[in-house]
């Protein structure tokens, strides 16, 4: 399968010639269609910059990002890339520019020049997919933080993207809203959408099919969650914690009860403990 998004030796420098910070230093990565990818790393490791480069919001200082073969350096292709790889930013308050839910969802397709009837269809369908029917006329300012996050996703869905990039979109949410946003992502993923999520929450990372660990502007580790989390020492060096289930497994292992270092989710942990229990009993 050919790459949906391909990144070749990507460098990104903030600031001008005088004082500049190199946020990305040679990142190469292939993302296939329908993937669920988590990007993790300590603050300042360049994960947010990478996300913005993937969705064409920043253009590379050197190297190349291609989406469906089109480069983000090509100004003519940029609008198409931004619509294909939709970006949801961390603070919903700063990404809404209108005063009602339906206007907010319509804003993207309006910018793309979609005909009015088609915009109305897309708006209705996007609002339905995020479960906000009946709230079309509310002021985004008065929504709860969970509703704001889902509205931000709906605003992207209306542009009919093939991929969603979420830059710490769950960081400010309470547990219940985070749960409902993650359930929405899983649902979109099962419908074929490519999901890329930048996050600090290790439990969220376990939902992904692949993890990329960033460290000082470079990819330090990559692999399935079970593979990445099996490398405790390396992770500790990057200042990253283990998901709770893996931490419990390590604790049990130190007391002599080996369940396997590939345990990353609570469900898996329970399954193995029960299997062990029934095996003995």
């Amino acid at each position: 399968m050919d790459a949906f998004i391909s990144v070749r030796d990507l460098h990104y420098r903030y600031g001008n010639a005088g004082e500049s910070i190199e946020a990305l230093r040679g990142v190469s990565l292939n993302i296939v269609r329908g993937e669920y990818l988590a990007i993790v790393g300590p603050n300042g490791s360049g994960k947010s910059t990478l996300a913005k480069c993937l969705s064409g919001l920043l253009s590379p200082s050197s190297g190349d990002v291609r989406v469906n073969g089109a480069s983000t350096r090509d100004a003519a292709a940029l609008v198409g890339i931004r619509a294909t790889v939709g970006m949801v930013l961390q603070n919903p308050d700063n990404q809404f520019v209108t005063s009602s839910v339906e206007d907010e969802v319509a804003f993207g397709p309006e910018n793309l020049g979609v005909p009015p009837a088609e915009i109305r269809r897309r708006v209705a369908s996007a609002i339905e997919r995020v479960g906000m029917c009946g709230q079309e006329l509310r002021d985004p300012h008065l929504l709860s933080s969970g509703e704001k996050a889902r509205l931000a996703v709906a605003a992207m869905l209306a542009m009919e993207p093939q991929c969603l990039v979420l830059d710490e979109a769950t960081a400010t949410l309470d547990p219940r809203s985070r749960g409902s946003l993650l359930a929405l992502l899983t649902q979109l993923y099962s419908a074929g959408m490519t999901i890329i999520t930048v996050t600090h929450h290790m439990t969220e990372v376990t939902r992904a099919k692949r993890v990329v660990v960033m460290e000082r502007g470079q990819i330090a580790l990559t692999g399935a969650p079970a593979e990445v989390f099996a490398r405790d020492d390396a992770l500790k060096g990057y200042g990253l914690a283990l998901p709770p289930a893996a931490a419990v497994e390590r604790g049990l292992a130190r007391r002599g009860l080996e369940l396997g270092r590939d345990v990353v989710t609570a469900e898996e942990l329970v399954r193995r403990v029960v299997a062990l229990w029934e095996g003995e009993g």
Binding site: Q95, V97, T98, D139
Partner: protein
Amino acid sequence: MARAASLRNASLGRFWPGDSVVHTLDPRVKLCSLGLWTVAIVLASRWWVTAALFLLIAAAYRAARLPRGAAGAVLRPVLPVLAVLAVSQLLFGYQDPAMPGADIGVLEVGAADVSLGRVIGAAIAIVRLLSLVMLVGLLTATTSASALASGMERLLLPLNRIGLPGHELALTGAIALRFLPILGEELEAVQRAQLARDITGGPERPWQLARNARRTAALVVPLFADALQRVDEISTALLARCYQGGRGRTYMRELRLNAKDLISLAISVGLLVIVVVL
């Protein structure tokens, strides 16, 4: 603190949803009418024209079938200003020499003598102020912020054809409308924090200039910083939503003028013409 609490829902005025004739008019017609009526109120030179305009606005309020208290909420902030206006008009106001009884003295205060003409002049100034405030109040009470923004955008759009940034202006206005309540909330939070640290507390002492200036700066500098720090992220968000200026943009809502809209517009234009001719 009543003053802080009122900022939470800062907006141009409260919107009361409804389905009256005034509510369902095209927002473009309402905005144009606001402009035409404002010019009419400012230009009206005769007392009975001013009074007639005021009565027409009052009639529009009835037609809008707003809940009790809507008009009161619009007028309450004007009351303190009315006193200042009344005193300055009574003492120094312009008198129309053509007005009957203009030279009848009513009372004398020091050097200034207040004639009947000045009393009527003050009444006209007050009615004019009330009319304008009620007119704006009627627009915001019957039009949602999103309808207002789309009306504004559609009115400004033709400017792009003659090379002016009409669409950009409309987006500027929409962003201002959207962030007004958010910044109001922010201001309230800063005010509360400083009240807790006793920076802004205490009675107003107008003669302590330095203290008053420091109090205000402590309140306003964080507000500016907050507003301007959002600019980066909002700009990125606009790019992410494929914003590319007004070119090639389409609209979800197709505004069409119907008979009701055209009649209202004709009435507003007619009104202005009558006022100008008189």
